[in-house]
């Protein structure tokens, strides 16, 4: 069998986080009563005139800039003509052409094995409108809900020839893009609600071949895990077809999550004859330096830059920096802890262990959203706790207890420590007394020690800590036991 090379182009659609639709001012929201957010424009009624949403244009420009694109100085909207019941006007307003879309010729770096990155080139970032939703009705017929019709939709398309060459890279590209869009606040990234959709176009060709193979277009992928599965399945299917002397057809294939297999979708006749032309209802757009720079200023630090800075500036590991920067609110919380005076490494350890676990267990979050309640723990709490441990007021074990308490009550760590008398005991006289008591209470263990079982020291130290209710300075406890044993 010949060796085959996989190439994957990717089209990603993302619904923009605007309050109103793209060409009318109907509200944008998920769910709700069907056809409750519609007007003559998004219903496609004769004579209704569209007016573009300025904020949507800015969000696409922001994304394009973050993806290192060139921004078009002059850009227009086109009509893409086709008939389908979810498209009331008989055309979708979109953007056509290589250098007409708001952004073009950009790139994004994705992490690959061994801490390296790979550059994925972007052909264009353009702005269009979403279609309505079709649903099958029991007893025949289909129903159309136009609440989604006209919602601002951004399309991000990779460049040809494709840079993505494995199912892993396809998934990584999708996930990095999603992270970026959520970071930028341009899309909520919810694939399960359809606000972000990925369509990979995989093709294979024999190694060494100059020409690219025929690609198929995958639809209905509900997650990036499905992107991985779909691309892997298509690669294997296409290779099998070619090995049997068959031909790969350019077709749209759906992805069946249950069977983990792709299938041919019914393709509308003459689908590619869209007869694009500039929409005469819409005035051309011109983007000047002032606008571009104003939008650029809203971008802020991107996840990959944060990830690198946390390693170089705070000495965090690649892994820890990755966990902290995965979501913007989490990274911002961490930075606030550092601003409040927390040691970065200590703050990172508390956040990525006890804090993350407690938040998950209780359904809380560091920002109130999506039905999650706001945690009582603030960056001030974390900073004060790390300081109490760093200056020896309490030890790490008591710190865990204090963390649990402050998570529950919201009280400041210092107040908790004072009220419960949890201050670390570093008075050697007191610790020595406890050590002597422990030795007296455990003659059998002392006997074992005398017979050469030196590992029982750990047990004795544990007994001392218990006796002190966890308050003894662990370092001193260790020393006191050794001293009592005559070491």
């Amino acid at each position: 069998m010949a060796n085959y090379v996989l190439s994957v182009g990717m089209e990603v659609h993302a619904e923009l986080l605007t309050e109103s639709k793209m060409f009318c001012r109907c509200q944008v929201a998920f769910g709700g009563e069907p056809n409750s957010r519609v007007c003559p424009v998004c219903l496609g009624l004769p004579g209704a005139l569209p007016v573009p949403n300025k904020h949507a244009i800015e969000l696409v420009m922001k994304t394009a800039l973050a993806l290192n694109c060139t921004i078009a100085r002059d850009s227009v909207f086109h009509r893409k003509n086709y008939f389908y019941p979810d498209l009331p006007k008989g055309y979708q307003i979109s953007q056509y052409g290589e250098t007409n879309p708001i952004g073009y010729h950009g790139w994004i770096d994705i992490p690959t094995e061994g801490g390296k990155t790979k550059r994925i080139k972007i052909a264009r970032v353009h702005l269009e409108e979403d279609t309505g939703k079709l649903m099958h009705l029991p007893g025949g017929g289909s129903g159309v809900d136009l609440n989604r019709a006209g919602v601002p939709l951004m399309e991000i398309v990779t460049a040809f020839p494709p840079d993505i060459e494995s199912p892993e890279e396809a998934k990584e590209y999708g996930e990095r893009l999603r992270q970026l869009l959520v970071y930028l606040g341009v899309c909520d990234g919810k694939m399960e609600e359809g606000s972000m959709r990925a369509e990979p176009n995989p093709s294979v060709r024999p190694e060494g071949s100059e020409t690219y193979g025929v690609k198929t277009e995958l639809k209905n992928l509900g997650s990036f895990r499905s992107v991985f599965g779909g691309v892997e399945f298509e690669r294997n299917r296409q290779i099998a077809v070619l090995e049997e002397g068959g031909e790969v057809y350019q077709e749209t294939r759906g992805w069946n999550e249950d069977t983990q297999a792709s299938y041919v979708m019914r393709v509308k006749e003459s689908e590619n004859d869209y007869r694009y032309f500039p929409c005469p209802d819409l005035m051309p757009m011109h983007f000047d330096d002032a606008m571009i720079e104003r939008v650029r200023a809203t971008i802020g630090e991107l996840p990959i830059a944060k990830w690198q800075r946390y390693q170089s500036e705070f000495g965090l590991s690649e892994y820890d920096a990755g966990v902290l920067t995965a979501e913007r609110p989490w990274a911002e919380f961490f930075e606030a802890c550092v601003r409040e005076g927390a040691d970065p490494k200590a703050a990172c350890n508390w956040m990525n262990s006890d804090f993350a676990r407690l938040l998950n267990e209780t359904g809380q979050s560091v920002v109130a959203h999506e039905g999650r309640t706001l945690s009582r723990v603030t960056p001030k709490h974390i900073a004060e706790l790390t300081t109490l441990i760093a200056n020896g007021t309490i030890n790490g074990k008591i710190g865990k207890q204090v963390f649990g308490d402050m998570f529950e009550s919201g009280h400041m760590p210092k107040a908790i420590v004072e009220a419960a008398g949890l201050t670390q005991v570093s008075d050697t006289g007191q610790v020595d007394t406890w050590a002597a008591e422990v030795c007296a209470e455990n003659p059998d263990v002392i006997e074992k020690y005398r017979n050469g079982q030196t590992n029982v020291i750990g047990f004795l130290v544990g007994q001392l800590m218990k006796k002190s209710q966890g308050r003894a300075n662990p370092q001193l406890a260790q020393e006191a036991i050794r001293k009592a044993l005559g070491e």
């Binding site: 109907c26 904020h55 159309v144 136009l146 003459s270 005035m283």
Partner: protein, 96 residues
């Protein structure tokens, strides 16, 4: 430049127009007359003129992102050929 009968048939199909053969032939000559007019325009020397996407010299006509209530659902559905449960009813669409 002229348009063939097959091209007329194709354009009619894309526009969802059912046309008899005689109508298609009549339309072919009308479309060819229109295309002829474009050829006249093509003959004009436009050296130095920038292409304009719109006849009206205006740009950046945008609206602020502020939601406004559109139409009550009853009004939205009033012209529908058929409606059910707040939805526009259409013939069954099979997606796959």
């Amino acid at each position: 430049m002229s348009i063939s009968l097959d091209e007329v048939r194709h354009v009619a199909k894309l526009a969802r127009l059912e046309m008899g053969e005689a109508d298609l032939v009549a339309l072919q000559s009308e479309l060819n007359a229109l295309l002829g007019h474009f050829q006249d325009i093509n003959a004009i020397d436009v050296t130095g003129c920038q292409p304009k996407p719109h006849a009206v010299p205006r740009q950046n006509v945008w609206a602020d992102d502020e939601p406004v209530f559109g139409l009550p659902r009853e009004a939205a559905l009033q012209n529908a050929a058929a409606a059910k449960a707040g939805l526009f009813l259409v013939p069954t669409i099979i997606e796959d």
